[in-house]
Symmetry: C2
Subunit: 386 residues, 2 copies
């Protein structure tokens, strides 16, 4: 199968496994390391497409589960596909819906053929199969589709892992066959496989060995950030990433905090997605270069400084912490817009700077400096610019 | 008292009382007729300041009542004033808080000195006096402050009108004295009086006669759009507007529908404010050149056309009705942003075009054409651009 998603490693950091690379897609290049903002149902919550463009993410993520239920495959076709719906013309990756379905717990059952579940919107029964989720993503016109996988919970009984991983592997082969058909019929995207295996290095190894021989366009690490401690996550990323091919993009799904991203990059991960910056914006949590801020806190009520004096996002350029606190506690809809812009700017600029540091062969130093400064915590003793 | 708000009529429409004028303020010129978007608590709900700038309103309105309760006068001073809080550096007009307080009904009582009320936020007792509301608005640094007035409900007992109007007139004089002090102390704004008198031409006349001799910078028509029928509103505007001076701006408070604005302009009104475009955006009601749309309606679910094919707002340029319906029913925060942008664009562009029509001495024809097209209603039978 000819790859429609060529991937080139531009530079490797000499002191770690970090690499700077480019993934080409029909909707543009994705310079990695890259963080994908989440646009679940067709918008990054609170942002018009022109705001998203201003943030210039390399690629964005949308959720197949939500889009399958509404507007649905048929209607999405009529509407001209996902890029048209979102009014976003850069690269898009969709997940397979598996993660959301497995989170439904009581409302779904797993069969060999796929997963049957009830919609959270109207209770109607739906079925996802490895083939149907690839067909759906291809019909959405996405650049990267993910295979249907079984995402195990944390903690999980050790004996449950092997059969689940085997099913994920059988599903991956079926997904790849379906992708080949879709590409034959004109889809200009590609498919990433998902490595599973809970926190077991042995299972992750067996899973990867099966996947890496197949012509996937990229490989994801799934089933992490599901409740395990930060140390466990870091350790797992450390042994999961090197199991995946050097010459294909590696994507760590659903992670995470800035410190987690910086660690994973050092292990050779290229792509990330997480609701953290966008969801946090809606609960008043703000990421900054000197640690994180809860904007609700009364300590900011008369603070005329920007959220982050090292940030040049549109929000920091114009608004004080005090104003943003006022908007948040007054429940102004604009608060979501302003804090989402800032948080995404922080994550995206962190990735851009990580890439620059890799290109300059000084990633280790960069990572140490970022983590140290964020440990300081936001200062409220200094002179206030009012 | 020297006026800090010079007002010049640029052109009068020969076929009506409509006029095109310019009101100068310390934060820029206000070309009229103009519609002021409402930014109650310091934001136009859903819009970052840079979005608001893109809409380029001539002036915006904020609510003194809300700002007095939060952040409050002292904190607003510390934060550098309302322009700084809003990150909006064009002209701002604030209402006096009277309208909001009178809507509280059971939770307020009127005394000769002012109004006592309980906060809707924490139940704390507050007092507004004619002096305190001017002082508050001046300390916010607004360009136009409104006097405290008594806004009568609809319908109202005829015998209640005269004593209420007399109190409003006594309060107006006290407001003017306070404004003179504030200007002496450096405030660069001005004060508009408010004509009251319910739906009685005689009361409106007596009220105006008392006000027009005083050095106000402009005159508002208050107490309309409080529940009376559209015909009553139009009739009242017809006799209220000519009672106010020709050489000062006339401001019709809290109105209204596009058809109401077009009528009031023909009667010689210059300024408007209303929550209609912004509040409607949050309930899915969309204004267009061919009538209004409820975006929730299933009839738009597969309609690939923009909200209004005659509109060049950022939303219409990028998004289909179907996409906007999907975002609305999916309760996406972005829906508020997109529909607010469109609705405000519609109102602001209507005012700009009204001004052009006045300048070209063809306002009557312009108004007829707009109203006729809006009566058509949005077409859903035509070919769909997908």
């Amino acid at each position: 199968m000819r790859s429609l998603l060529p991937f080139t490693v531009s530079h490797r950091d000499p002191g770690s496994s970090a690499r700077a690379a480019v993934l080409e897609t029909a909707h543009g290049s994705v310079e990695t390391p890259a963080f994908m903002p989440v646009g679940t149902a067709g918008t990054v919550k609170g942002l018009a497409a022109w705001e998203l463009e201003r943030l210039a993410p390399q690629m964005i993520l949308a959720n197949t589960y939500h889009l399958l239920l509404r507007p649905g495959v048929e209607r999405m076709k009529i509407l001209g596909g996902l890029h048209r719906l979102m009014a976003w013309h850069g690269p898009i990756l969709t997940d397979s819906g598996g993660y959301q379905v497995f989170s439904l717990a009581a409302r779904r059952r797993v069969e060999e053929n796929g997963v049957v579940f009830r919609s959270h919107i109207d209770g109607a029964e739906h079925r996802l199969t490895p083939e149907s989720v690839i067909a759906a993503q291809a019909s959405f016109g996405v650049d990267v589709a993910m295979v249907l996988d079984e995402c195990l919970p944390y903690p999980v009984a050790p004996e449950a892992v092997a059969p689940s991983v085997k099913r994920t592997l059988r599903w991956a082969r079926r997904a790849l066959d379906q992708a080949a058909k879709e590409i034959e019929e004109g889809w200009l995207g590609g498919v990433f496989a998902i490595q599973q295996g809970a926190l077991s290095e042995a299972h992750r190894k067996r899973c990867s060995e099966d996947l890496v021989g197949q012509p996937f366009d990229g490989f994801a690490i799934g089933g992490l950030a599901v409740g395990e401690a930060s140390e466990q996550l870091h350790e797992a990323v450390g042994f999961c990433a090197p199991l995946l091919p050097e010459d294909k993009p590696r994507y760590l799904m659903g992670v995470g905090y800035p410190e987690d991203l910086l660690h994973a990059i050092s292990c050779g991960v290229d792509l990330f997605d997480c609701v953290l910056p966008t969801r946090s914006a809606r609960t008043g949590k703000v990421f900054t270069s000197i640690g994180d801020i809860n904007i609700k806190n009364a300590r900011w009520a008369e603070d005329g400084r920007p959220l982050d004096s090292n940030c040049s996002c549109p929000t920091c350029v114009r608004y004080s912490r005090a104003a943003l606190r006022h908007f948040y506690i007054s429940r102004e809809a604009t608060s979501v817009v302003l804090l989402t812009m800032h948080n995404l700017w922080f994550f995206l600029s962190l990735m851009r700077r990580a890439r620059e540091a890799i290109m300059a062969s000084r990633y280790g130093e960069f990572r140490r400096r970022i983590i140290e400064r964020r440990r300081q915590g936001p200062d409220d003793a200094g002179p206030k610019k009012r």
